[in-house]
């Protein structure tokens, strides 16, 4: 369990966007409601050059959230000590307002598979994930947030619901949660429950940040809808409704718009941030 006094400065309860280099100039001149940026940790683990220079410039104007995609917290093996050391180095010089990672695995042995892969929810995986979170929080000297995955399938061996699994991880490790409402909508649709029931069971008080983004639609072997987490378009209407629902439980929170593929011109991404700002304004007014 992490010492609560180590909790770092928080992200502002305002819209943020996933940082893309093509928006560098607009972010500095016309950021609109955007108060913070999320960067993928691994993109800044080179030794220097433009990526580092841009981050150094941006952190004067924005709070930064470092979001890891390669730590493989749900992996069967031990955490990669080299990767953890790289992360510690990045967090050390950048001093971000937040660090988050995923309830997923991506590394197996010496191989990185470049995707967020699912794990069953059992007593054994709970212990393993909790140990990994403890190790990360100890190495970084700060509390981390853990993001719920987008699920395309279920494991017959699971004995925990995802929400109970996350709540128990919070209890055991003191970590916070990153609530991705797009992932909730995707998983609920794909596995046949309602997203509202997920939120009702989710420990909203532990959510330190919310993600929203777009998904694609496909279908499975039986013709049932199969939503794919693509981050390649505007968030769908029911996902915006889910954001409102989540915010009514969490109160004002940092809300990140994710758009990683087919990245649009700045005005289109900014419009999504405006919509997040409107959702936050409604909560603040209420």
């Amino acid at each position: 369990m992490l010492d609560a006094t180590l909790t770092p400065p928080r992200l502002p309860s305002a819209p943020g966007v996933g940082y893309k280099a093509q928006h560098f100039t607009e972010l500095r001149t016309a950021p609109g409601p955007v108060k913070w940026l999320e960067v993928h940790a691994e993109n800044y683990m080179g030794d220097g050059g433009r990526p580092h220079a841009q981050l150094r410039a941006l952190r004067d104007d924005f709070a930064i959230s470092v979001h890891g995609v390669g730590l493989s917290i749900g992996g069967e093996g031990r955490l990669d000590p080299d990767h953890l050391a790289r992360l510690k180095h990045l967090v050390g010089w950048l001093e971000p307002a937040s660090f988050s990672e995923h309830l997923a695995w991506s590394t197996h042995g010496a191989e990185f598979l470049d995707d967020l892969l699912p794990l069953p929810y059992t007593d054994a995986t709970l212990t393993r994930v909790a140990d990994h979170i403890d190790e990360v929080q100890e190495a970084l000297g700060r509390r981390m947030l853990l993001e719920n995955p987008s699920s395309y399938l279920a494991f017959a061996e699971s004995t925990w619901s995802e929400t109970d699994f996350l709540a128990e991880l919070v209890r055991r490790t003191g970590c916070g949660l990153l609530l991705d409402v797009n992932n909730v909508f995707i998983s609920a649709t794909n596995l046949g429950y309602t997203p509202q029931s997920y939120l009702d069971a989710y420990p909203l008080s532990a959510a330190g940040e919310i993600h929203i983004g777009g998904h694609d639609e496909d279908e499975d072997d039986h013709g049932a809808p199969l939503l794919i987490d693509s981050h390649g378009r505007e968030a769908a209407e029911p996902v915006w409704a889910l954001l409102d629902h989540a915010l009514s439980g969490t109160g004002p929170a940092p809300v990140l718009v994710e758009w990683d593929n087919d990245v649009p011109e700045w005005p289109i991404l900014r419009a999504e941030a405006d919509r997040a700002a409107a959702a936050l304004a409604t909560i603040n007014a209420g």
Partner: protein, 252 residues
Amino acid sequence: MASSQTDFRAAILDPDRPVPDGLTDGDGRPTTRRFSVYRNNVTVALIDAMRTGFPVLVKLVGDQNFDQLARLFARAHPPASPLMMYYGDVLPAFLDRFEPLAHIGYLSDVARLELAVRQSYHAADSTPLDAARLGAIAPDVLMRTRLRLAPAVQVLSSRWPILDIWRYNMEDGAQKPRGIAQSVLVTRTEFDPERHAISDAQFAWLSAIRANTTLEEAVDAATEMDPEFDLGPLLTLLIQHNALTDMITPKE
């Protein structure tokens, strides 16, 4: 007990393998399409990373051929770390043994150039050597001095005109590659790597400097390649592009 992630990983990288046991839809029914999402995500992510990292190779072999090459490469050599900016470092060696494209002899050297440029882009920042310091040294001391190249400097030699091939595919109006061997120096004055064609003698000098020889030993190596070797233009080029970071003068 067999590791479930070992099975999962094997089935992701090999579409001919069956979907691992115990994976279902929301109603407990077995599913192939759903597992295929992960197969597809991993394949697309790795191919995309290769396309981003090797834009000239994509042009040289065409989109379809490149995707097929990338798919075979990714299956044989998944990334060895989450630092995707360096993914593909063993592609040149893979290409050297890749029969279907063996008729395009220069592919692996073009891949080496693309890797060198990427490594330069992500290399550590450094403070350039003040040219005045270099100019202030007496000639006999200078020849016994050792120079440090910036971390972003890359040097490579080839039997092929790899820089002309690169330019012909990436720059408008570039001339057609001629059939000559080209060595290449990559520098990074600020953030964007620059590519320079260099002679065999200049390559020999830079390789010696990189191996921490004195200036004199490096000039000897270069003169062996070309008795007319003149260090002046190369030193100017290196200074103009912030390619030197330090010098170590001999202890008297």
